[in-house]
Structure formats: C-alpha cells, structure tokens
C-alpha cells in the first residue's frame, strides 16, 4: 500500500508558511496569546477554588513550568543521542 507519487518542486518556492509575513503574524499571535494566558492567571477569581498545592496559586506557574519543561526536554534530551544513537544500518548488519 504505497504510491510514491512525487513531483519534485524547487525548494522554497514560496509556500504560505515560508512567507515572512505569515511567520511574523504567527509569532505575534503566539506572543499575544502567551501574555494573555499568563495575565489571566493573575485574576484570583479564575484560580482553582480547591487547589491541592500552594504553588498552583503562583501567577503564571503553569506558563513557567511549561516553558521550562519544554526547554529542558529539548536541550537535555538531545544528549541521549550520544548514548544510544547508532548508524541507520546498525541492526541490518547484525541480524
């Protein structure tokens, strides 16, 4: 079940996602959304009425944690490659 039906185009031949205007708009919207979400966390009326931990009441805790977790995963996780990364044919040569 496959159909390798590919027409090759010229790389970077002006798709909408490569348009700098789109990229800027996307980043702008993302930054505004991030700020809005963090700002919404400042409103105590919108906090969890039954928090399990005091940390849930820290403004923007979830924003900081999400940002930090993502950066940690990417920057630390990539070093796993040094430990377990092998060439693509690794198992082909051994089986």
């Amino acid at each position: 079940m496959s159909d390798h039906d590919q027409n090759h185009g010229k790389p970077d031949d002006g798709g909408w996602a490569d348009n700098p205007i789109f990229i800027r708009a996307f980043l702008g919207l993302l930054i505004i959304s991030c700020i809005a979400a963090a700002a919404a966390g400042l409103n105590a009326a919108w906090h969890n009425p039954h928090p399990h931990f005091a940390i849930e009441g820290v403004p923007a805790f979830f924003a900081i944690y999400g940002f930090g977790a993502f950066v940690f995963i990417v920057l630390v996780g990539q070093h796993l490659r040094k430990l377990v990364g092998r060439k693509e044919e690794y198992y082909d040569e051994r089986e």
Partner: protein, 579 residues
C-alpha cells in the same frame, strides 16, 4: 448444553461475528473485502447495542462458569471505541487487496474485543492469545526478512504474555477456586504481594508495554504496512489498559509505573527520526497517563483513564493516519526526508494539526475533556506525580503536538510535491478529526459511556482555571519551541538507529543464543563421541566372545564331551556310595 444453544452463545458474540467476517474476507473476491468488513463491523456494533448491559453466553464447562460476554459500563467504553477504530481503519485502507492483511484487519480487533468482553479468565486467555497470533500477520505483511524476524520477536513476547496469563490464572484458581475476571488487586489484606496476582499483573504489563517491557511496540509496529501500523497502534495496548482497569484499579504501584511511562518515551521520541516510530513512543507515553489514572483508582481518575483511552484511540489513530498518508505519497516516514508537504497536502495537514491539538489536550479538543481527570487525580495523590504529569504534558506537545506536523509538513523543504492523500484516507482522517473536535466541544456522549456516572455528572472540564492553566502550559511550551527554533537550538533530525531495550535481546541476547547453540552442538558431539566409542568397544568385546570366531562359539570334539560326561557320572556314583 445443546448444539443450537452453544451456537447461539458464539453467534451472539460481536467478537465472533467479526472473526467470521475476517474468514469471509479470505474466502471471497478481494475487491469485496472493504464492503464485507464494513458491513460486518456494522452488524457487530448493532449486536453490541442490541445486547445492552448484562452477561451473555454463559455456560458451564467442567463445572466452572464461563461468561463469554460481559457488557458493563467499563467494557462497553472499549467495545464502542474499538468498533469506531475498526470502521476508520477499514475506510482508510479501502481497496486493500492483501488477503492476510484484510483477515487481520478484522480478526485482530475481534480478538481484542473478545478480550474486553470476557467475563472470565479462560475466555480472556483465549482471546488474549488470538490477539497475539492474528496481529503478527500485520507485522509480517510487508514480507521482508526484517519484518519476518521482527514479527517472530513480537510473537515470542506476546505469547510469553499469554503463557504468564495462563500460569497466573492457574495459580489464581488454586488460590480462589474461581475463574471470574474481576478486581484482583496486587496485595492481600496484610500488604503482601499475591503470587497469582503478580504473574497476571506481569502478563498485563507486557501487553500494556510497561517500562523495560515496552520495546516490542517500537520494534514491531513501525515495520508494518501503512494501514497495519495504524491498526496495531489501537488494540493490544488498550486491551491491556482495560485488563488493568478491571483487575488492578487502585494499585499504587501502577501510579509510579505509569508516571515513568509518561516520561521516558518523550526523550526517545525527541531523537527519533522515523515519525511512525515517534508515534509508537507516543503510545507508551499516552498509555502511561491511563495507567496513572488506573493506579490512583478513584471514581474520577478511573473515568479519566477510560475516557482518555477512548479519545486517545481516535486522535492517536488520526496522527498515524496523517503520517501514513504522507508516507503513502512519498514512500518515507523519516523526518529527514519529509518536510514542506503543506503546499500540496493541505487537508492531511489540517487533520494532522487537529490530531496534534487533541493529543496535546488543547481546550476544545478530545484530550482536554478527560486528561484533566487524571491530572487532578494525580494532584490528589502527591505533588511529584502531579508535576511529572505536567512535565509529560509538555513532552506530549513536543513530540506529538509539534514534531509530527512540523517535520512532516513544514521544517526544511524536502522538494517533494506529492498529491493530496487519496479520498478514502481523507474520509477516515476527516471522520477522526470531526470526532476529536466533537468530543472536545461536546463531551457529554462520551461522558454518558463512562463507568461512574455519579462522578462525571459533577465534572465540568471548561472551568476558567482549567482552561487558563492548560493554555498557559501549552502556549508557553510552544513559545519555547519557537524560541529554540529561532535561536537554532532545536536539534536537527539525524538519520539514525537509536538503541532501546530491544538491543539486549537483539545483540547480546542473540549473540548469547548463537553461542549457546554452538556450545550445545559441541557438547553433544563430544558426548556422542564418548558414548559411541564405549558402545563400539563393548560391541567388539561381545563379538570377540560370541562372534563366529569367539571362544564361546568354538566347536568342541564329541570324544571330549563323552570323556567329561563319564567323569561327571563317576563323580555322582562316588557321591551316592558315600551317602
């Protein structure tokens, strides 16, 4: 039991209906397979609906009660979503001509469904093994040596799970005198681990891919065909999730096991180049969330685990389908060879992004309305498990929410300009996407299926704090991605093979077995040499004595014999005189 009532026991079972349909696919012309599969799935679903809640197909076997169909709120959720998944897969693979795959497309989900509906361990064991045997045809489907070898490894591990289940069931019967498949619990009243429960727990653990027992998923699933991988991704692990929810709800060990499952696949998925393999790590991660929910075992977290399994089957399939469609058109699922497909596959891209938003649990999508129950449950357990699940949620966004769509459709331009996915694939992805949004926006029909109605009636996922917390977590994680890309700190994909636990049995394990076979042969030859040498020497001695030239075979002269007869008679005469 009469033959007719025995027949009705079987034909009432949706799993048997699907199995009969699978056999029909083998016996009928290939071009009818799609229609047959869809009709049979519809008949099976109608049968499930018409039966309603209750136990059916109950009979006595050697004095023990066998319950072949148990439809209760827990099994019903899985039975319903299994039917949806089968229908989506049949549509996606419409026109598939390979008879073995068509057979497995129905027979394997049938086995998983049979397991979910089983009310006793005997029935469960039979379907458990059927799932192993029927699914291996999907691993073997590409027909290469690599898939054959991988299929054998897969089969060995699945059968091991079955053997453990059987052993556990025997021990369980000895302890309790019952085959009923209900809550087992890992420990007895004194807190000691029950042997039978532990063995069954391990059997379930292999199939649900506990950490260190997980790598059969990455080894076998991505080697299957495009549609085969999607089918495989749904059933085995979710059957095991169901079995754990049935037998081990509220087992604290599951919380820690599940938490580890949510974390470690994130890092392997980050460095993996094959996007289908990335999604197999995603299966481990997603099942981890469900297992945490089961381990916590409250009404809310169990509802969350089961509801999340339902949603996950749909959006995880959707992601597999989107990557599969790209692979169908380009011949590859490797991140290094894909990229830039958004130009010519906009519909597939849209569906993929819906799957990505759903798995990341964005408000308005399927993941959000059930995952919160699990995360809240974790908060009620302890802060570390709660923080772990939040961390893992950022990880889900990284590998399934961003990596899959980004490297398939954006990233560097591969120069490939394939056509949009074929219509059947678009229909299947479209339905899965509609369901993902539909469940997210309007979760009530899913909630109506969940086991604890009292709990879910009081649950409102769209509270302000829940939305804000989730948006903060996800949006800021996306911001982190954007920053890392802009400053070029996000690692480039590299064609590679990443070692995982399968290395132990594929390299040193294989070397050990090869050595053991060689050593056994040498020892056998040596022992046989010693034995046959001794035997030869013995035979030679016997031959020397008794052979034609041997001492004992010599001819004696008649006169010599007569002389000795006379001596003997004289001796007897002397004796008689003396007496």
């Amino acid at each position: 039991m009469s033959a007719s009532s025995l027949l009705s026991v079987f034909l009432d079972n949706p799993a048997v209906i699907l199995t009969v349909g699978a056999l029909m696919c083998v016996a009928t012309p290939r071009h009818l397979a799609g229609v047959i599969m869809l009709v049979v799935t519809a008949i099976s679903a109608a049968k499930l609906y018409s039966l309603g809640l209750g136990n059916y197909g109950v009979f006595e076997l050697f004095g023990e009660e066998i319950t072949t169909i148990r439809i209760d709120p827990l099994s019903r959720v899985f039975a319903v979503v299994f039917h949806i998944a089968i229908a989506l897969n049949v549509i996606y693979a419409w026109g598939q001509k390979d008879r073995a795959q068509n057979f497995a497309t129905l027979a394997y989900p049938a086995a998983a469904l049979g397991g979910v509906l089983a009310g006793d361990f005997i029935t469960l064991f039979i379907w458990w093994e059927m799932a192993a045997i029927t699914s291996v045809f999907l691993v073997w489907a590409p027909g290469t040596r690599a898939t054959y070898v991988s299929g054998m490894r897969y089969l060995a591990i699945q059968v091991l799970s079955g053997v453990l289940l059987l052993a556990g069931v025997v021990l369980f019967y000895r302890e309790t005198g019952s085959f009923a498949f209900d809550a087992i619990g890992l420990r007895d009243g004194d807190g000691a681990i029950k042997l039978a429960a532990l063995v069954i727990f391990l059997a379930f653990g292999i199939k649900s891919a506990f950490p260190l027992l997980h790598n059969w998923v990455q080894d076998a699933y991505p080697k299957s065909t495009i549609s085969g991988t999607i089918i495989l991704s749904v059933f085995t692990t979710k059957l095991a999730v169901y079995a754990l929810a049935r037998g081990f709800a509220g087992t604290p060990e599951l919380i820690y096991i599940g938490a580890v499952m949510t974390i470690f696949p994130i890092f392997f998925a980050l460095i993996e180049n094959d996007l289908r393999k990335v999604l197999t790590y995603s299966i481990n991660n997603q099942v981890g969330f469900m297992i945490v929910g089961i381990g916590i075992g409250t009404a809310a977290s169990l509802n969350g685990a089961v509801g999340y399994a339902f949603s996950n089957i749909i959006f995880e399939s959707l992601l597999f389908m989107a990557v599969g469609a790209a692979m169908f058109r380009t011949g590859t699922s490797k991140a290094t060879e894909l990229g830039g497909l958004y130009r010519t596959m906009p519909l597939t891209l849209t569906f993929c992004i819906i799957g990505a938003l759903s798995i990341s649990a964005f408000p308005g999508f399927a993941g959000f309305v059930t995952k919160g129950l699990i995360v809240d449950g974790a908060a009620g357990f302890n802060i570390w498990i709660w923080l772990t699940l939040l961390f893992a949620s950022a990880g889900v966004l990284e590998h399934a929410g961003i990596k899959i769509p980004y490297f398939t459709f954006f990233a560097h331009d591969s120069g490939k300009r394939p056509k949009e996915a074929p219509v059947p694939m678009l229909i299947a992805m479209g339905v899965a996407a509609i369901l993902s949004i539909g469940i997210g926006v309007h979760p009530e029909p899913l909630y109506a299926l969940l086991p604890d109605q009292e709990q879910i009636a009081g649950y409102h996922p769209y509270s302000a704090y829940h939305i804000i917390e989730q948006l903060q977590l996800l949006l800021w994680a996306i911001l982190a991605f954007a920053v890392l890309i802009l400053i070029k700190w996000y690692p480039a994909e590299v064609p590679s093979t990443n070692l995982d636990t399968d290395w132990f049995y594929r390299v040193p394990g294989r070397a050990f077995v090869t050595w053991a076979v060689g050593a056994a042969r040498v020892i056998w030859v040596a022992l046989w040499g010693i034995f046959s040498g001794r035997l030869h020497a013995l035979m030679t001695r016997i031959y020397t004595m008794h052979g034609p030239e041997g001492q004992l075979a010599r001819n004696w002269p008649i006169g010599f014999m007569a002389l000795w007869t006379a001596v003997l008679l004289g001796f007897v005469l002397v004796l008689s005189f003396l007496a």
